[in-house]
Symmetry: C2
Subunit: 104 residues, 2 copies
């Protein structure tokens, strides 16, 4: 399992509490990251396509959805991936802190 890119990780993170559509994901990522990560539409929609292909997200059928809005939710595999990536980030940041503090 290779490390996720920051964009991909934020997209998955924004879907953790529940399903959302693309544009809302974009806004939430900006909010979550305190405006530090602002996804371009190019990044967002190609990432969503890739995540669908990988089976990490799936489209939710919503009959009452306005216009051409498409809503996505995490699959179990996607949720596992978020957990694994979070574990990687935690161990990596702890390793880095130890190194910077001088303790091997």
């Amino acid at each position: 399992m290779s490390p996720l890119t920051e964009s991909t990780f934020f997209i998955l993170l924004s879907l953790v509490p529940g399903a959302q559509h693309g544009y809302a994901i974009m806004q939430q990522v900006a909010q979550l990251s305190d405006e530090r990560v602002t996804l371009s539409t190019g990044t967002l929609y190609t990432a969503l396509k890739r995540l669908l292909d990988d089976g990490w997200i799936e489209q939710v059928e919503e009959p009452d959805a306005p216009r051409g809005r498409k809503t996505y939710r995490l699959t179990p595999s996607g949720r596992t991936a978020v957990h694994e990536e979070t574990a990687r980030l935690v161990s990596l940041s702890e390793l880095a802190r130890r190194r910077l503090e001088g303790a091997q």
Copy 2:
């Protein structure tokens, strides 16, 4: 300041305690990451070149160095970058944990 790739971050981390040459960096990254990250030579030497260009590492002149060995050390900018990236990882991993635990 965009996020560093995992490879680049590990290379910089391995130089935190002191100067090293390329091959030793490769071995230390493998050891630091518990064999999870094994840099190919392609990744290593192109990354070192890039880091030199960016002024994050510099070559150390060693008259007693055996063969064509080249030793590198962190510059002040490079050290700053490691600190900033570590801070980013810490805040990101904390954000992720909060999200997964359901709080916000």
